[in-house]
């Protein structure tokens, strides 16, 4: 059925994404490729479209044009309207199932414990046996440093702990790629480190990640490639060392300067 994979074929491919909210053209043709096991960091000023790109990868937003492929699942968004509502939704659900998502404000299920948050997807959606999902959930919580807090409700956890549960929840569905939408932007500064440490650990263990963040040091240390977006287009892309330390574009340079030296 499936064509043999070329060794160089990236895990995630995005082409020609266009999206507008009313008169506001958020994405004006974005292309990107994410190799398996690599970390891609999207940076850019607010309103640049970086979060929207991320949300197109799992079809939380529906772009007007463009295509997204994650692994074997590809969606051509310009075709969706002609498919009919049901078929279009099914295509989006299939694409969404390929990735896990960590939100800026975690969006944990407040009425479920940390462990239940993690096992909800595997048990309820994927139908895995409860005991197996529990065991794996505990392992994931341990991996994010929360072995002892499995039975805590989200409201009983600190912001950093909540976000780490969010990461465990995203990993529990065995996604091919994990998407992070400004995972530390809503945190108190002293809690940022614990979340970034978990993310770095994931990256070192070979997870494919796409991260929207303002944490430039994280990008420098962990990212394989950095994409700088502005005005709905990718202005500059390249290895982290090059884009951050030695940007070619004037807009990138100005943005980084503002970020690193806000005064």
């Amino acid at each position: 059925m499936t064509a043999p994979l070329e060794p160089t074929r990236p895990l995630v491919e995005v082409s020609g994404l266009r999206k507008s909210f009313g008169e506001n053209h958020v994405l004006r043709g974005v292309d990107a490729a994410v190799p398996t096991g690599s970390v891609t960091v999207l940076i850019g000023p607010s309103g640049s479209g970086k979060t929207t790109v991320l949300r197109c990868l799992n079809a939380l937003e529906r772009p007007e044009a463009g295509a997204v492929r994650v692994g074997e699942v590809a969606v051509d968004f310009s075709e969706l309207p002609s498919l009919g509502r049901r078929a279009a939704q099914q295509a989006e659900v299939r694409l969404r199932a390929q990735s896990g998502m960590v939100f800026q404000s975690h969006f944990l299920f407040p009425h479920r414990t940390a462990l239940e948050n993690v096992t909800e997807g595997p048990v309820v959606v994927q139908g895995r046996p409860k005991e197996q999902a529990r065991a794996e959930g505990l392992e994931l919580l341990e991996r994010v440093g929360l072995a002892g807090r499995a039975d805590a409700l989200p409201s009983q956890l600190s912001g950093g702990q909540q976000q780490r549960v969010g990461i465990a929840r995203a990993l529990a569905i065995h996604p091919q790629v994990v998407l992070f939408d400004e995972p530390t932007s809503a945190l108190d500064p002293e809690l940022v480190g614990e979340v970034l440490a978990v993310m770095k650990d994931l990256a070192e263990q070979g997870s494919t990640m796409v991260v929207v963040t303002h944490e430039i040091r994280f990008a420098q240390q962990v990212a394989d490639q950095v994409l700088f977006l502005d005005g709905g287009v990718v202005v500059e892309r390249g290895p982290a060392a090059q884009v951050i330390a030695d940007p070619r574009e004037e807009r990138t340079r100005r943005f980084l300067k503002r970020l690193l030296d806000p005064l």
Binding site: V93, M101, F103, F109, P110, H111
Partner: protein, 219 residues
């Protein structure tokens, strides 16, 4: 005040309460809540015809008196060939009425759950019905309890209208005893007291339920 009559009426009225008022309230509320959830989901539907139908239903229920709804179903429908006994007629009328009011409560409670909860549910793979059942409704229920308790408490008292379509609820029992004795104050006062006690019990249950549902909100 006729104390002897009061004593001898206490038991028949209690029977009217337990065999009439309470079952009529309970059945109507349960059926009404089922209607309410269905109508609320219809109103939230992106399909115009569906949400429009739900809107008309809510508007008609809220825009007409309960007594008139009751009379249409019991006295009016027979002229269209549908004749209902007092009990089913009253149950249907109250269920429809509760459904209309509670639908708005359910709808606004669902809308008050942050969008991010829907998105988080979607990203762990849930479809709309699963997200609704596992994530959104449990959170919406916390918000819905106080206004729905209002609806329930109103319903307890509104069921006294069933006496006008020949249902033997507590109020009808009180009327039957009062009529030949002319002891209206005694009988209706006693009925009022019974209604009040039932509503006090419901308020207490509401408080407990709120505490239970709120436990995950505050640390």
């Amino acid at each position: 005040m006729d104390w002897e009559l009061l004593r001898s009426s206490a038991w028949p009225l209690l029977q009217g309460l337990v065999l009439g008022t309470i079952p009529l309230t309970a059945v109507s509320f349960v059926v009404g809540m089922v209607i309410a959830v269905v109508v609320a989901l219809m109103r939230l539907s992106p399909v115009g015809v569906v949400s429009g139908a739900a809107r008309v239903y809510v508007s008609a229920v809220r825009g007409t008196p309960l007594l008139v709804q009751l009379f249409i179903i019991f006295y009016g429908l027979p002229s269209l060939g549908v004749t209902l006994d007092p009990w089913p007629a009253a149950t249907i009328a109250f269920s429809i009425n509760v459904g209309g009011y509670a639908a708005e409560v359910v709808r606004s409670s669902i809308l008050s759950v942050p969008r991010g909860q829907w998105e988080a549910a979607a990203t762990v793979g849930m479809d709309y019905p699963t997200a609704l059942r596992r994530v959104v409704l449990p959170q919406a229920s916390r918000i819905a309890v106080p206004p729905l308790s209002n609806t329930l408490i109103s319903l307890v008292k509104d069921t006294s209208l069933a006496s006008t379509v020949l249902v033997t609820d507590m109020f009808r029992v009180a009327q039957q005893i009062a009529a030949p004795t002319y002891q209206f104050f005694t009988l209706y006062g006693l009925a009022a007291l019974y209604y009040w006690v039932v509503c006090l019990v419901l308020s207490t249950l509401q408080d407990r339920l709120e505490v239970r549902l709120n436990r995950y909100v505050t640390a």
